[in-house]
Structures are given as C-alpha cells and as structure tokens.
C-alpha cells in the first residue's frame, strides 16, 4: 500500500525527532500510570466503605450513615452508585482492593457467586449471638435473601411484593369486582374485552414483567417448593408439571386476549404499561409494589383515588398456597469477608441499624414498607396507610416469598430465562418447547 508522502520538511530533523520521542515516552508513561493506580473509591483510610444503589430511597441510607457516625469511632463513608451500572460495578470491584466493605444487593443470585468464592461474611454467627437481630425481621424476607440456607444479608429497604393492581374507575364503569378466583379473572377478561378495554396491561418489551405471571402461576399450581427445587437441584427440575401447566395457562391467557394485541411493543421503563393502565385503557396490571410510587410520580390523581389492589387468585387444581407471594422481598446489606477485627465489628454494628425503629420510620416516611417484624405500629404514618397495611399483611402472612427468578438464579441464567419467557408470550415457543428451553439453560 502506498502512503502519500508529506511535503512538509523539518527545520532541524534531529532535534524534532528527539523531542517527539521524549513526548511520546512521557505520554506512554502517563498512560501506564493511569492503568496501574487504582480508580476512585478504596478505603485505606480506616473508614467503612458503604455502597448503595442510588435512587429516591437513598436518602434513608444517608440518614443512617449520619446517625451511625455519631456513635462510632470508625466512620462509615457512603458511596452512591448510579443505578444503571450497579451490578457491573459491584462485580468488577469485588476481588479488587477497591471492593466496598458493606454493600447493597438483591440477595440470592446477585450474591451467590461471591458466596461461592468466600467473599462475604456469613451472618449466622452474629445472629446466633444476637437473637434480637434475627427476630427483628419478617422471617420469610430474611430467608429469601439467603444462599444455600445461610444468611449473608440484612434487609435494608422496603418490601416489593408483586401485586394485582386494578383501575377502580374502569371496574366501576363495567360494574365489575376485583377477581377472587381464577374463574372471576377469566370472566373479567371477557367483560373488558367486550368493552374495548385491554384486560391486563403488560409491558412485553421488558421480559421481567411477563416473568411475574409465570412465577405466580407456577407458585399457585405447584407451590413455592417447585422453584426451591430448581434452585437446589439445577435446571433439570424445570420438568415439574406445574411449570408446564403455568406455560399452558399463559398461552391460554394470550389467546384469550388477556393482554390485548400490541403488548409486544409496550414498555415498562418508559412508562408505557403504567400510563395505559392509569388512563383506563387497561383494567388491571400485575406489577411490583413500586407501581404505587410510580403512579404517584406520574399520575398523582390516579394513584390517590383510582388505584386498587388485590391478591393473585388461586388456580383450579393448584396445590400452592394462595397466600404466598412472589417479587423482591427487599434489598440487603452484605459485608465483605475481607473486613476483619474492629472494622468488622463496626460493619456489623452498622448493618444492625437497619433493624431499629427510627430506620423503619425513615423508610415509611419515604413511602416504603419496611420488612421489620414490629413495623405494624408505624404503618399509619405512611402516606397511604391502607396500601401500606395491605402490603405489610400480604407479606407477613405469606408462608413463602419467592424471590424473582431472575434475581434468585445466578446471573448466567438471566438472559436465557428472559428470552424463553418472552418467546412464550410472543407465541414463538409453545408450552412444551418453553419447558425444554428452560431445562436446556
């Protein structure tokens, strides 16, 4: 290949060559130094490095850090990590000197790889020494974040069960009542279809919204044990008849038009499904408890008077307890196993603050429902006490709280699980092929 020759000529070529070489070496040197020295963060100054997912609820954690620092010699330093990249950042930092000492996570699969590599401090000894700590939280919530039956997390945020929301105005117009049984639900589908209203808002571009349906149906058909078996025995356990039944039910719902026709293009993150629901174009919406806060932010009038909620009904022939719930029990604090001695003591003290009443009070004031077992008296202070009580009782009375599958399983399974669920809803996979796809993950 011929390179066009430059016409520029140097005044003094040797000096120029030398100075360029120097500049180049300098540049390369800087680049190397840039690679070698650690990035930001890192707590070699003896303080406790605490990482939290940054969003509207972060102010509760900011408060607790202030309170903790008043009582402790070892100060906590809060790093608020922007939400979008939280998992990536957590993962890339663990095992490096910049790893946090205490950090926010989703329990289950989000920490199982760390547990496997002994990177987290087991909390069972601390709980044995301090039984009050264990009693402070609703047991199903504490257990939902455990890995292989061992506790590595202290609940530190509000509960997020999946709730069947309905639009009161649309129901009133149709003279309908919220479904108590599966038959009711099927009848409601026909009622609303007849009125030109989409029975269920569904954000089909976000597979996790569809996953909620599958999780509830499997739970109602076969109970929480089905998924526990998959977690402990591996992917072959998807062979459970409850999974196939759930897939067939999904296909039946889709064929009946339960989700309308264009759900495949509807999104959740840009508020598509929620707006559809709030505007009365859809009658019901199966969604996490955050839907309330979401509606409050975007459609305040609807959140105040139009939003109704109920439980997911039992299915005919199902052996699961209809009181069970699925969703995200809460978020957890975990402690890095590398934290030793006094610093470890301080870290344990810090996470115990999440069990205290004033912490729960902060959560309530923020619109969250805390996962502590003595929160009942505080619920009246929630901006919508009825909703807070419903949610709290729903979780407290639930014999099982199944963590969202995509959070409970190790990260490797998330993309294939989402793909399979989306293809089931799109009709690209039949129920039997869906089960095969899950078994083959």
């Amino acid at each position: 290949m011929r390179i066009p020759r430059s016409r520029s000529r140097s005044r003094s070529r040797s000096t120029l060559r030398a100075s360029t070489l120097a500049a180049a070496l300098l540049l390369a040197g800087t680049a190397l130094v840039g690679c070698g020295s650690g990035g930001p963060g890192g707590s070699d100054d003896g303080s406790l490095d605490v990482w939290v997912y940054q969003d509207a609820s972060t102010k509760v954690q900011r408060e607790v850090v202030k309170r903790f620092n008043k009582t402790s010699d070892i100060k906590a330093k809060l790093t608020q990590v922007p939400g979008e990249g939280y998992s990536d950042k957590m993962r890339t930092s663990m095992g490096t000197p910049n790893a946090p000492d205490v950090f926010f996570n989703w329990g289950g699969g989000s920490i199982s790889d760390f547990v496997k590599k002994d990177m987290l401090l087991g909390l069972d000894p601390a709980m044995a020494k301090d039984p009050e700590l264990k009693k402070a939280f609703i047991p199903t919530i504490l257990d939902a974040g455990a890995v292989d039956g061992k506790h590595y997390g202290i609940p530190m945020r509000g509960m997020q069960p999946v709730i069947l929301f309905y639009n009161k105005d649309v129901f009133e117009d149709a003279g309908a009542k919220p479904p108590k049984s599966w038959d009711d639900l099927l009848k409601l589908i026909d009622t609303f279809k007849g009125k030109g209203v989409t029975p269920f808002a569904l954000a089909g571009t976000d597979a996790w919204t569809e996953l909620m349906w599958v999780e509830y149906l499997v739970d109602r058909y076969g109970g929480a044990g089905v998924f526990r078996k998959i977690q402990s025995q591996g992917m072959a356990a998807w062979d459970d008849p409850a999974v196939l039944k759930a897939a067939q039910t999904v296909k039946d719902l889709v064929d009946r038009g339960a989700f309308g026709k264009n759900y495949k293009s509807v999104n959740y993150t840009a508020d598509g499904a929620s707006t559809l629901f709030a505007k009365g174009k859809a009658a019901m919406h199966l969604m996490g408890s955050w839907e309330y806060a979401n509606q409050k932010a975007n459609q305040p009038a609807f959140a105040k008077s139009g939003l109704g909620w109920t439980t997911f009904p039992a299915v005919p022939g199902g052996s699961g307890d209809p009181k069970s719930v699925v969703g995200n029990p809460t978020n957890y604090w975990s402690i890095n196993a590398k934290v030793k001695g006094d610093k470890q003591k301080a870290a344990l003290e810090f996470v115990k603050f999440a069990a205290q009443q004033d912490y729960s009070g902060d959560l309530i004031a923020n619109g969250d429902v805390p996962a502590t077992s003595d929160a009942t008296s505080l619920l009246g202070k929630h901006e919508n006490p009825d909703y807070a009580r419903f949610q709290y009782d729903l979780v407290k009375q639930a014999p099982d709280f199944t963590l969202s599958w995509d959070q409970a399983l190790p990260a490797t399974y998330t993309p294939p699980l989402h793909t399979a669920v989306q293809k089931l809803f799109n009709g690209q996979l039949g129920p039997a092929a869906f089960v095969d796809a899950l078994k083959g993950m």
């Binding site: 180049a24 095992g95 760390f114 590599k117 495949k264 293009s265 840009a270 598509g272």
Partner: protein, 327 residues
Amino acid sequence: MADAAAPREPRRSVGRPGDRPGGDRRGDGRSVIGRPGVGRPGVVWALPGALFFVFFAVAPMVLVGALAFTDWDGIGTPSWTGMSNWSRLWDDPETHQAIWLSLVLTVLTWVFQTPLALLLGVWAAGRQRNRAVLSAIFFLPLLGSSVALALVWKSLLDPNFGLIADIGPALGFADGDLLGSSKGAFGAILFVTAWQFIPLHTLIYQGGARAVPRSLYDAAAIDGAGTVRQFFSITLPQLRNTIVTSSVIMVVGALTFFDTVLILTKGGPGTDTTIVPYLMYKNGFQAFDLGYASAVATILVVVATTVSLLLVRLTGFAAMRSTREGM
C-alpha cells in the same frame, strides 16, 4: 509544466522520483525531495499514537482473545477451558441467528444508505444559499447522541401513545405493534440508523463532490453531456475513493451497532433483533459469562476486520493515488 497551465492547483506530483530538484517554491536550496524516505515522517512521529493504540486497543484485544479460552464470571481468576466456548459458539442457534442478522443488517444498511447519501451529498455540494440552509437542517440528526435519539424514536414507536399508533395501519401494523413483530423491529432499527447516519455520509460525499474540478464539468458541457450523463461519467467515477471510505465506515459501523438496538428493541421480540454486539453484551454484562462473550467479541473483530480489508482490496485501494490522474 503543468504548473504554468494551472497555477492555482496544488501540485500533485511533488515528491515523486524524477521531479525537478528544488521544485518546491519555498525551497531552501537543500532539496530533500526525490530521495526515498526523506521528507517522510519518521517512525518516531507515529510513536505517541502507536503506543496509545497498543495500550488501549491491541492489548485489550489480545486479552479478549485469551479470555475466549477461559471460563470467567468477572470475579476471581479465569480458568482455562480450552475450546469449550468455541464449540458452544458453533452449536448455539442464537449465535448463528445473531451472525446472520448482523450480516443482513450490514448489507441492507449499505444498500439503503449509500445511494441516498450519495445523491444527497452531490445535491448538497451545490453552492446556492437555500441548499446550505437545507443541508444544515438535514445534518441535525448527526449532532444528537445515539441514545437520546433512540429514546425519542422509542416514544414515537410506542403503540398506544406514539406516532406509530396513527400511521401504523398505513404501514401494515394495524395495532401499532411495529416493535413487536420481527420484521417491523428489524425495519425500525434499519430506518432509525439510516435516519441518524445518512447525514454523516452525505457530508463525506458532499466533500468529495466539491473536490471534483469544475473544469471537468465545463469540458463535459462543451461536449454536450447533460446532467445525468455528467453524474454517471464524471461525478460517480470521481467519487470512487469517497465511496470506498464511506462504505468502510458504514459496514464496520453496522457490524458493531449497539446502542439503538439496546434501547429500541432489547434484541427482541424474542431474539429476532439480537445482532452480534448485543449478543456479546447479553453474555458479558447480563449473564457475566465473560469467556463466552469474549469468544463472540473475537468473532466480531475478525469479521469486521476481514470485511473492511476485503472492501479496500477489492475496490482497489492500492490504485487510489488520485482520481485526477493526468490533470
């Protein structure tokens, strides 16, 4: 000499062997032109750039190549697994689909964007004032960030509240379910990327077209050639190198396209718009299966490099000295 005939044209032949010594007008008498290697920048000049390239491009690429033979979840130490990622790549239908989709997207992108950009570029190379204003407006999409633009398009394509709810029926998507159908989602990506990048290529073609000497058109006009004949006989051949440049950018860009797919379709419906870069992201940063993601990335590097080299070779980059030979 040609110098006398066209004094304002820069000399093309400077530096070629056989040139008249001291031909440079600002010569200092100690002519260096004509001796091989002299007057050409030394290796040292390339050093800063080369080092930068080695540290931030070559080294990571080599590391990715090595990672492709390991099993690594992002924490701890990678463990060697030999060819297992590659055999998985060989068997995985999702990967085959992704490679196929990437190639189709690349070809369609070229077929769709090149003629439009070429015609617009030639048109925009005119010098009337209204063209300048219109071109400026037309180049606007180029200024937006891909992510912001994709978000805007996503809102427009929302089946219930977006533009597509109204124009969908005319396009054959009665429910506005464009992004929910395989062909619709693929078409949307093709359209949005074209809308965003045609201006860039138009700019390249505009530059190329403006560099074509006026005298060629004057001569053609004297010979009685019309606009169309002038376009095919002068403009198009003169733009040969511009077409190669634009095509390489376009093809490599289409092969590595990512952000619009992430925001617009998330690789869906199902896996029907999961192109190779998105597949890499899915395996690397959702599944944290970095070994397998590295294997996918390696495929991408190899394919993109091969395609761009082929393009340059086949279209005669070696003969690219000038399209104005003999002027």
